[in-house]
Assembly symmetry: C2
Homo-oligomer: 208 residues x 2
DNA sequence: TATTTAAATAAACTAAGGTTTAGTTTTTGT
DNA sequence: ACAAAAACTAAACCTTAGTTTATTTAAATA
């Protein structure tokens, strides 16, 4: 499965709903993957799938809300649109609070679903871009040596190289070299840039 | 009205509901302010009120969702708990999407409301603290002179003082003085601190 | 095992930043 | 209109940062 592919995942235990929604979504030129149960969906789809998930709330064995919870636990941020035939308000509230894009009640107009899909795909694109940027930064951070990782938080706190040198029991010249090398490895040219990109990481130093 | 006061604002056109909820909330030691209509509420309450708002969705003239929208337009972030007798799912979804803390359906258990209130007050405290911090930063920023405001974005971009001097057609020495003075006025000691606090402002330079 | 590669160290030198002092202009308040 | 305060300017001096080069040590690889 191509990771860059945008797919609308449909999960509903009612085959006729699956087919109807499937052709609706295909009619606007989007790729569709249909599943009759949550298990089928989890078996077939990698956690890095991109697109969005249209989910029936009431299904045997594993409900839509259960799927939402499990996806969240897997760290997947695939946007979810719920559809329900006999849902109630507490269910809808729980779903939206947990980050669902929408919660549609049957019968709904086609345009309602299509609008929700557009919103979901937009959210997915932005989340995906954000995640990629953070992954990039993490990749750079991972190339830092032990000393460079040690020096970084002192820089971010605004300590002078001289002060950092005392903290680590090494010479100021050495701190300067570590600083220089870590800037290169993080691929930033300026201190403000270093501050900004490291804020998108959750370094131990941020917790202090 | 004391701005630091935490008050639970109750708005419901049903007087008996108002009294029942009022005494429930009072019973756990919280201050209550009751209103029979949205207009009464808006007339009596300043936009800087702190606490939370318990709002009936269905009311004559101005509905709960209208109140939510108007509060939001006023820039007020007072957390809202909706209660409804005859609400539907789309209504609940709309409310939660717009940031409501909860959407309770009558009849609800007392503990449900109290739990929602605790959540709402916690959210309010955090939003309030955040807002105060941003206000502080804005206050500091407002004391900057024209030149200091001009120099700031160049610092944040990581330009050398020499480069900033060329950009502004002044000497490097002057840039250094402006830089020194703006650091003092923003009450930060280090460049990383300056970067971090100014990120909480929406300066024009951030948009470029 | 020998060889290479990466990491840590630090001195020397160059460039930039920070601070102080001071002169000039502009604004503000009496 | 005058005095005081604030803003803008800039030079001089000192401190800190950045860069280059080099040595030592440790780890990975042929």
């Amino acid at each position: 499965m191509n990771e860059n592919d945008t797919v609308i995942y449909l999960v509903d235990d009612d085959q006729s709903v699956l087919e109807a929604l499937g052709s609706l979504v295909r009619s606007i030129g989007l790729k569709v993957a249909c599943f009759s149960s949550a298990y089928e969906f989890f078996d077939a789809v990698s956690t890095r799938a991109r697109g969005c998930l249209i989910l029936d709330v009431r299904m045997p064995e594993m409900s839509g809300l259960d799927v939402q919870k499990k996806l969240s636990e897997l760290g997947d941020e695939l946007p979810i649109i719920f559809i329900s035939g006999h849902g109630d308000i507490p269910m809808a509230v729980k779903a939206i609070k947990a980050g669902a894009v929408d919660f549609l009640t049957k019968p709904f107009r086609e345009e309602e679903l299509l609008s929700a899909i557009r919103t979901a795909l937009q959210i997915d694109i932005e989340a995906s871009e954000n995640l990629n940027e953070i992954e990039d930064i993490k990749t750079h951070y991972a190339t830092l040596s032990f000393r460079e990782k040690q020096v970084l938080p002192f820089i971010l706190k605004g300590l002078l190289n001289k002060q950092t040198a005392v903290e680590l029991g090494i010479s100021e010249a050495t701190v300067k070299v570590h600083r220089h090398n870590l800037m290169k490895k993080m691929s930033v040219n300026t201190l403000p840039d270093l501050v900004r990109i490291t804020q998108r990481l959750d370094l131990p130093s941020h917790k202090i």
